[in-house]
Symmetry: C2
Subunit: 376 residues, 2 copies
Amino acid sequence: MEFKINNECFYKAITEVNKAVSRKSPLPILECIKIVANSECLILVGSNADFFIEKVIPLFINGVKVLEVINTGCIVISAKYLGEIVKKLPQDIFVKVNEQQIVTIRSGEVSTNLKGFNSKEYPRLPHIDGTKHLEIPSIELNEMIKQTIFAVSKSGTRPVLTGVNMLFDKNRFTCVATNSHRLALRELAIESNINGSFIVPSANLNELSKLFNNGLGMIHIYLIESYIVFKSNNISLFSRLIEGNYPNVSGLFSAHYKTGIILDTIQFLQGIDRAYLFASEWRNNNVQLEIKDGNKIQISSNSLEIGEIVETQTIKKIVGETDLSISLDGNFLLDALKAVKEKEVKLSFSGPMRPVLIEPLENPSYIQLISPVRTY
Amino acid sequence: MEFKINNECFYKAITEVNKAVSRKSPLPILECIKIVANSECLILVGSNADFFIEKVIPLFINGVKVLEVINTGCIVISAKYLGEIVKKLPQDIFVKVNEQQIVTIRSGEVSTNLKGFNSKEYPRLPHIDGTKHLEIPSIELNEMIKQTIFAVSKSGTRPVLTGVNMLFDKNRFTCVATNSHRLALRELAIESNINGSFIVPSANLNELSKLFNNGLGMIHIYLIESYIVFKSNNISLFSRLIEGNYPNVSGLFSAHYKTGIILDTIQFLQGIDRAYLFASEWRNNNVQLEIKDGNKIQISSNSLEIGEIVETQTIKKIVGETDLSISLDGNFLLDALKAVKEKEVKLSFSGPMRPVLIEPLENPSYIQLISPVRTY
């Protein structure tokens, strides 16, 4: 194997596929990147066996020649060292692999030899057959992930809750995440021939939203046995699915709420952020909300040892009962409000011990629930 | 005590004095800031009992009124909470302390009560008498600290080596730091009536260079019993000195070197940075330097398990013997070269086991030494 490549382009690709590589693994090959040189492109693959990122570097990018393949072939190299070396090389990089799988990397006056591994031992990419498939704009997929992923469970006691549930049903795509104390649900109308419910590990979706964060183009989603694949022009992510049944959340939403209030999203977020200061010292991150004088909301928190913080904000509109006092986890409320892009947010209450419904005004596709905290 | 203050100006001052406050102390008062309201200014003091930062906020800054003192007085408040609250307050801040030492902080619709402490228990600032005193441009002092501080010892086995030695002698000011494997020495001609050798804790000098990093104005240095004081217009740092005798380093510099080479500083630094990649995996961070063909330097490192890296650079000028092979700690060499501002650097060698002298070309006021590493 032998090729010459533009250093910046090579470094970018290594960094991208590196996101799927294990930092520390009992199997050294899972700390490596696989490089395949074809006559018309270079393919890099990073993997920890459950998650794969594949990047294709063509011969030309925007009409500029970035790659020249002299001899085709395949090698597996330490992701850490390859990345650190290529990052520091001053100019075009020449890579050659000999029969003992020693990889020589040259650039200007710098020459490096790295030990390679046999590529036969590297995990194999699942095969895409293309029958179960849909397309979604990158910007929409990213937003759906960002608006739900924060609500997944951080503890591993119920593994299904550590992932985001992706539901494909009658031309509707839904993402749901919950840790059983809070929930975020986002819908999108979409055409697809996929049906079913799939649970995707949140760590992999995090990498996905970093890689596809430019918001350009379409993402193709494929479902193949035990994997979901997200594919753009030159980069593909293969994530193993979490096994198990995701809980049905549709029964959690109440049809009737006693009180509904509309608030300025940013102003309310800043108020919660201030009150959260003491809340974070206190058990369950309690922030108290109380309706005052029928048209104001009082946000407060206190810690016996340190002090207290209180502020009042004007409610834009109130519907139903004006008698309300409730304790919420300030951290959950902060996450929920940060995910709302709209200027106004509606909170609906059914009583001090019933979940609070949080919706952006004029956007029925995004709903969140937060369970109150017992204060006695 | 009662005053009204601009929120940004108050927050900046709190952040500055907070650098001297203990993060975690068995004495809660050492996690606090003292605030003194006089008729013509507000004084903030942060301290961990060995290090004090004092900041003065006048009534007007650049002709704009930033402070109004309604009632004079003094209070001690948790540095962490005061900082976090003031950071999040939207506008001018009104502070009032009642007889129970409850501090009420109000800004717009937000009201906070924090428990205060009696200011009598707060550590007292050492008194400046002003007899032993010198002045130095802020930019010069900062550079002297930056060019020496990295060389201090990180281990506490010899406490004197964890500080920077400041020597005042016959109109010359010298800073020295060493961990006994490497040394950095920087001199400056200066007028002073101070004589003697003082050891200043490096952690406090680190904070000093952050606080005085704008490079403007003069710094006044005072020496009072067991403290050194650095004072600018409105901020003063009081650092306790490290007790003990600093080793005399003048005998470490050899008068004769066998080989002297001149290199491009940046190019050499980048070469060491690349070679250091494998060096860091290897004991003592070894990087090998070898003179080749009488006019080239080969920089290399290797790790049996991973691979090797080799590069050659052209020597700008060579004096003396051209036969040289030496192993140095790559990390020490990187630090040394980063501290050199000049474009060209001179390295002088006396043999594979004698310290290497590193000097910027055309700047006799800055010299460094690095001891080689045994490779057998």
